[in-house]
Symmetry: C2
């Protein structure tokens, strides 16, 4: 056998330690060393060395020894110490800021939320600081222990530089160096990402294939996730709100995109009022329009069909180019349920070759925050298990 090079040995050791850590993480409760030998296929001395290293660095914790049934030495058991590297997630919107802390196992330790009462970036940054403080306190985690901070915000984000390039819904937001502001308190990496992209990551968690995850409320955005990884492209992938429907007048520019101006929640209510009829004249919001359609109201069904057709025409070209396995819709409009989904499906069948599966997200709340925590955890784990 060849002489071994120190560099090769170090690599092998990191591979082994990572394998042991991954085995403990994926196990169901505390595990004994004997089990780890079985799970990893490594020798007992290698497992012992890796466990010692991981106990030293705090990633594993040791449990009270279980007396051996054979009367021998009590067996050492270890489990993941979720608090070794907790992560902080933030969902920064024009009206609310939500913060959450999760441990390494993905368990949410705390979630706090505060309204944004005044315009201006000074106030917004103060709200961010306050809600962060509260979440850390509630989770009993100090800023110095946080392993990664991930922030979701509307607008176009330069993920690499962590800058908000364009965010018409939060005036002044693109002039702030958010990463610099947070780095003053945290010693870890700080990531910024478009909120629809983070929602897409949350929706795509545990799914393979290509996914178009749509956020549909007042605003309309999407994220593309390919085999669990966010597709960013040149920087602004998923901006479906800016698709221009045929015949749309591009001059009514108010910062919103043409498609969200045409079929966002607000536009759906306006369409219904314009259509008129007993049920629609009094419809206060999109939810009531969908409820009327579900009850069989012909005018409401017609509005839903027009909204579905406009949506299907807007996404059909991307279905042909990207060929997603599924389109998953989250956000307020997702509460419309089957009446909207069926209509979109019918139009997509007409407009594409093989229409993708069409689903409503079952993530009720905090989708952006869940995505932010997901992104942070993915990075922390990827870094820790990288070999």
């Amino acid at each position: 056998m060849a002489e071994r090079h120190p560099q090769g040995t170090r690599v092998l050791r990191r591979i082994n330690t990572a394998a042991v850590l991954a085995a403990v993480r994926d196990a169901d409760g505390p595990v004994r060393l004997t089990e780890l030998v079985e799970l990893t296929g490594l020798t007992r001395p290698t497992v012992t060395q890796a466990v010692e290293e991981l106990l030293d660095s705090g990633w594993l914790q040791q449990h009270a020894a279980e007396p051996s049934s054979l009367g021998g030495r009590p067996a050492v058991r270890v489990s993941l110490n979720g608090r070794a590297a907790p992560v902080l997630g933030l969902d920064v919107g024009p009206h609310t800021v939500t913060a959450g802390v999760a441990d390494l196992a993905g368990e949410q330790l705390a979630v706090t939320r505060k309204p944004v009462r005044r315009k201006g970036t000074t106030h917004l940054l103060a709200v961010i600081d306050a809600v962060t403080e509260e979440a850390l306190a509630a989770a009993d985690v100090t800023a110095g222990r946080v392993a990664m901070v991930a922030i979701g915000t509307p607008g176009i984000v330069d993920g690499e530089k962590g800058r908000v390039l364009f965010a018409p819904s939060i005036p002044g937001w693109s002039s702030i160096d958010l990463v610099d502001h947070l780095r003053a308190r945290f010693r870890c990496a700080v990531g910024v990402e478009n909120d629809a992209n983070l929602a897409a990551l949350a929706v795509a968690h545990g799914r393979d294939g290509t996914l178009l995850a749509v956020q549909w409320g007042e605003r309309l955005g999407a994220g593309v996730v390919i085999d669990g990884r966010l597709h960013r492209g040149a920087g602004e992938a998923g901006e479906i709100g800016f698709i221009r429907p045929p015949g749309h007048n591009p001059r009514d520019d108010d910062g919103r995109g043409p498609l969200e101006r045409t079929i966002g929640a607000e536009a759906i209510t306006a369409l219904a009022r314009a259509a008129g009829g007993a049920r629609l004249d009094t419809a206060a919001d999109a939810a009531e329009v969908f409820a009327a359609a579900a009850d069989g109201d012909p005018a409401a069904l017609d509005v839903v069909d027009r909204v579905a057709r406009t949506f299907a025409e807007a996404v059909a070209p991307s279905v042909l180019v990207l060929s997603p396995h599924a389109i998953v819709i989250s956000g307020g409009v997702a509460r419309a349920g089957a009446v909207l989904l069926d209509a979109i499906r019918r139009h997509l069948e007409d407009l594409t070759l093989t229409p993708p599966a069409l689903e409503l997200s079952d993530l009720a709340e905090h989708t952006v925050l869940t995505g932010a925590l997901r992104m942070a955890l993915d990075r922390v784990w990827r870094q820790r298990l990288a070999t």
Copy 2:
């Protein structure tokens, strides 16, 4: 230090051998063992063992020893033996079949081409066999040595099963098990891929980022390549020919997609004839329409602008969703040059947030074949260097 497990040792050995092979491949000409020690950071005994293994398996070849300038032992030099694993590529079209053989370094050893004179799959398979035979003979490679066969064909292809699912331009084609037919002669893996996808791989070679590579002639297709890898999605990514332009009548169905029926090369000529005028009345093909536009003929410029607008409107939604770094156009229509490209760029600027770079491919001929050879080589190398 921990006892080493045999499995870990085997992994380490494969990593080392792969590192040595990659270093030889990327070197400029034959290399000495001393150079390989420097290039890989491995010890001399490890390099020696890897080189012996690679000489045995035929992937490396040994060169005449160079006498050492210090009067010591002559230094052994090795280089890649490109013929250790040659690959075969095929471009199967309705009118022509082209075959090519490349060596491991990507050098094309032979390219042959034959017309398809009669309809029917029996004749087409006979042409495929004949052109393959000729290419192998010209390259002096036996079928048994071929490491991978990759075939490009129009239509929708199930890449995993290697079946053509839908190919209206070659009647009967989807009923043939092409992989089975070729496996009878070759002992290696046989891959089938959509021709526009292979052309995209060829165009994307050596480029990072997200690329939408458009093939634009009588037919209109595209391939999506993300960081050098073909994006397949659920199976039929890149089918831009089937995007339906606004106002298009879906009933004129002849197997071609709505967009290719509207702005394919044939449709461009028809549009020009309908527009009329001194230059356009006699335009024999799309090339003459573009030439007239380049000369400033107003009617021709108007036709080009309409074609460019229809193309831009069709791809704009995918630009917003996929955010490609570049759109590269190949095929007959690419010869139109700046007059078309400028018009498309103008419309895309209006329809998207940050328009991607827009380019014409500089691959003149054999784009699909080049892509087929590329795909085959990528797989052979990936398999060989996998650790």
